[in-house]
Point group: C2
Chain length 187, copies 2
């Protein structure tokens, strides 16, 4: 198995691209393309697998995909991978108030990369999970639901942190480190 020094990261989200470039850009050339990839309903593993498989079919070569999720402990893991639909529908304020009727605001922010060498090849997954709390929205940096997630041990939400500060602790950073270790071990 040979890993190219450049990686095609399939995402339409410029913030995710910037994060990944910031974290891995010193060691790998991060190329980008946006395709309309199917997202199935199901377990996170199934969702990542199907998305990465579909991307490899289109690209006909090595490809990196990413899924982000926000899991509320009180909801046994939901909204989880469906977080983007809720963010679009009710915004960060609504995502916070969804928990008004529940005893805990504990949550996990997660990122799962899928990487494959190409169609029919194994799909490797690398996840990063950060425990924290859902809080009333604070801050205007970052993107998505960053303003309501405060990692444990921090007094700032993601959206109150500078990019460097967030990328040094985030769920995406943790997943990218695993991806980096894997890629380097294959060179």
């Amino acid at each position: 198995m040979s890993i190219p020094r450049s990686i095609l990261f399939v995402t339409g989200n410029k913030h995710k691209l910037a994060d990944v470039t910031s974290i891995l850009g010193n060691e790998f050339e991060i190329k980008n393309h946006s395709y309309d990839l199917p997202e199935i309903q199901g377990s996170l593993q199934d969702i990542v697998t199907e998305k990465c498989r579909a991307a490899a079919e289109i690209v006909q070569g090595p490809v990196l995909t990413e899924d982000t999720w926000l899991s509320y402990d009180a909801m046994n893991g939901l909204p989880g991978p469906y977080i983007k639909w809720f963010l679009n529908s009710i915004g960060c304020d609504g995502l916070y108030h969804m928990l008004d009727g529940f005893p805990t605001k504990d949550a996990k922010a997660g990122c799962t990369f899928g990487y494959t060498e190409g169609p029919g090849k194994p799909i490797h997954m690398f996840d990063g999970i950060l425990h924290g709390e859902v809080v009333s929205p604070r801050g205007d940096k970052g993107f998505g639901w960053n303003s309501i997630f405060q990692p444990n041990g921090h007094e700032k939400t993601y959206a109150e942190m500078d990019d460097d500060e967030r990328n040094a602790c985030s769920h995406r950073f943790l997943a990218a480190m695993k991806l980096r270790d894997f890629l380097q071990s294959q060179i």
Copy 2:
């Protein structure tokens, strides 16, 4: 176009099968098979289309599929088609308390049938929508989230109604009536 007098309804849910048989069984022979069909994320129309298309590919003939959803007005339509994941994770009590932080409990119960004559043929959709309110769980009849949905103009939840009573007013009944009219017009 010719519509057979027997319909293959692809569902693994015995309650939905019983409902459809109860509503349409006098006029059509309802056959049933359960396949593991893909459920994508996206608009209801996209979800129904892809599921019906996949079912027709497997069956290689006419097929009926069904999607059920519960849309909270306060959440601009969500959980909607993702309701089953929430039901599985937090149950009816959790589904009720999700709205504690929102000013309205108004909701819409929906059912959308997909029908096609076979692979590559048009997919016809028939939906039934019933306006109502999300209430604290009451009743033990019915299934799924029936105990938290009280249709407008009624003092009972779905789960406090007998099958006949529920099937005479439900979202699934409304959709099945449109499906029946369509099928009869094609004979």
